[in-house]
Symmetry: C2
Subunit: 421 residues, 2 copies
């Protein structure tokens, strides 16, 4: 334990690690653990799609010519597949293009420009708009709302979901218009929301045009057999008499081809009708051939889940290796804690307070790029400067091993230097 | 000539045509000439794409893995292909998803939310925003700007482009923020803008955040060997000292697969940088595999043009048949005039004043659906109620023949009834 070490021991260890660090800086490595990108091996599993839908195949099961214009909200079978993923009915679903982030941006931008069902006015005509950002969370969610000029409010993300005591207090201010949620294997801590958190989100006092942005990005992305259930927020909102409060999103980006997947949203009839009305102005409709390609590849939800099990087998050893090296190099030293996620794409490390930025800078000098410090927080500001997000999906195991040796070295060195100061 | 017919002749002809019309209404036909959709035969020409990019093919010529995330503005080769289509440089281009209409909507929505380079404030903070709608024009353009709450101003579309005397007067009001243009084979009259119109658009006094939305939707869509040149508006704007004034758009929707094409915009460095900055918040990037699919199918602009020549051979007989039946049934009768476009997707008919709505309603009763009356005008209101847009691309020749027999019957009958009143 660092806390039990004498000053001499600390100095001697600092010396030893400092030399290792300097050697690492000389080695000229170039390793990248910044973003949750699928690895080539994972993508290879979807390679049969490169020749799909296939020669002469362009009609869906209803006989619709998927090559032509028409159909604003997706093929019926694709809606059904997404309904299975999101736990809702096909008629609740709108299928869109290759980016669920775009669907979320568009939903927020439409709320600004036009308002949402149940709201009196567009958000742009309501003065300051505030948005809740459970943190650590997904930087690109927060960026959408800061880009649109909202005031972001950090809320602590606990192991059960956002700190609901705090959320309830903040949401009672009706200038607060929404909250970003990744309910399953949350980016980056890997936690899954509890039913109780969902119930409180659904029932709490909030503006009539408050929206829960429920990004179920990792709906099918398990690393173990033990699949943590995700709350049925749509039903919870209906039960609470706030059926329009939630917008759910997901995509196949981390299922098939990251840049060439299919995205979807699901919500109440009011929200879906309203969205469809705007979409009929906004677009000629989604790429139906890519939907057909996905349908022909998976056939159904069982096919998709079998595919995800194969992806899980590629990802699991990477997460195991990250955990093994964290445990081996930092375990029992009283320096850091970290998540052991049962799904998703990230490992979250809590370094000593005030050390995250230093550690990430050091790692970069030694050739290991990490997600920028603070990224998982609103405005990129981690109040304790301690959270570091590791993304082990993309690099091969050999790179992860090298990167983690350097990373843990940096964590320990920074911790010791802090203790010596 | 209708104008020379006696009342008795008119009555007798009205009787004859009325009987034919009643018979047509009994026949229970179901023909559709409403939208500019490619026909299945046309789409068949792109069927090899259904198996592209092909087994194991997923890298572009720079070795980029097109399956993964990354690349906000398109593959370099795809930019080059669109630069050839739009007559600009690859670095002027941003490649997006399957809908250029969405690119235009997004560009307008961003101007509302954030403003544009050279503008002082977002359009949303400048009071009433006005937009110029050369008419007859494309209904879905006008719909974007009315949906966003702008005031639409009709401007007559002449054979050379918008009536520039009028445009110059209107644009000097700096609440006027833009103009919709289809510079080549304009929807629906088929005219192509002259260099002089482009020069005046580029040089006129207008708000610093005025934008020409230059939708070159039919850039490669010729029906004859005689390919009318389209003005170089980007250069004209540069020459006039207003390099940021124009945003150009196009897509492959009416080249490959209507719903699964690739869209692009091109503009000045200021506009492109600004757009890219917003896109980095808005999306994970475009579908690069669909870009690769297009590149592998066409190879280069020559391949694309050879493909368009094959499409032209399918479309030409349809346009010829429309013209033949208009000429045969209405020629020399002093009732209607119509366009004989050298490209694009539409034939524009000018019926007698105050008759378009009646004719379209009659045709529908006789089983022929046409574009709603007024659609090519701002707010759907044709001030003379005389313009009818015919879209002959989708139906087979036999349907076009039947539809045109009924249509011309309705035109003549409406004209005679008007003369009798």
């Amino acid at each position: 334990m660092l806390q039990e070490m004498s000053k001499d021991d600390l100095t001697s260890r600092e010396n030893e690690l400092g030399n290792q660090f300097n050697a690492a800086c000389q080695a000229g490595l170039k390793l990248d653990m910044t973003r949750g990108k699928p690895s080539p091996e994972q993508l290879d599993l979807a390679n049969p799609m490169l020749s799909l839908p296939g020669d002469g195949v362009f009609t869906d099961s209803d006989g619709v010519d998927c090559r032509n214009y028409g159909g604003i909200d997706g093929l019926p079978q694709m809606k059904a597949l997404f309904a299975d993923i999101l736990g809702c009915e096909p008629q609740d679903v709108i299928v869109s293009g290759n980016s669920s982030l775009t669907m979320m941006y568009d939903a927020v931008a439409r709320a600004v420009l036009f308002g949402v069902p149940g709201g009196e006015k567009p958000w742009s005509q309501q003065g300051t708009v505030r948005f809740l950002c459970p943190a650590p969370g997904y930087d690109r969610h927060f960026e959408i709302t800061s880009h649109l000029g909202f005031e972001l409010l950090n809320v602590e993300l606990t192991d059960e979901g956002p700190d609901m005591d705090r959320v309830e207090v903040l949401a009672s201010d009706h200038a607060v218009k929404g909250i970003w949620c990744v309910p399953r294997y949350s980016n980056p801590t890997g936690i899954t929301y509890t039913d109780e958190v969902a119930r409180r989100l659904a029932t709490m006092n909030a503006a009539p045009d408050f929206r829960i942005f429920w990004d179920n990005a990792y709906a099918e992305h398990h690393l173990t057999e033990e699949q943590q259930p995700v709350p049925d927020i749509l039903q919870a909102c209906r039960d609470a008499g706030h059926p329009d409060r939630v917008l759910m999103f997901t995509s196949t980006s981390k299922i098939t081809m990251a840049g060439a997947g299919v995205s979807a949203m699901a919500a109440s009839p009011n929200n879906i009708d309203d969205t469809r009305r705007h979409l009929s102005v906004q677009t000629i409709g989604p790429d139906k051939l890519n939907q057909l390609r996905h349908l022909n590849f998976f056939k159904n939800i069982e096919g998709l889940r079998a595919h995800m099990a194969r992806i899980g087998k590629i990802l699991k050893p990477k997460f195991d290796l990250v955990n093994e090296l964290l445990e081996h190099n930092l375990g029992g030293k009283g320096i850091a804690t970290w998540s052991q996620p049962k799904g998703g794409y990230f490992v979250n490390v809590n370094a000593p307070d005030d050390c995250a930025r230093t550690i990430i800078d050091m790692a970069e000098k030694a050739g290991v790029k990490l997600t920028p410090a603070g990224a998982p927080f609103a405005y990129g500001l981690d109040p304790q400067n301690r959270v570091i997000r590791l993304a082990p999906s993309f690099p091969p195991l050999s790179d992860i091993r090298q990167a983690m040796e350097i990373f843990t070295l940096c964590v320990e060195l920074a911790a010791i230097r802090k203790a010596l100061n």
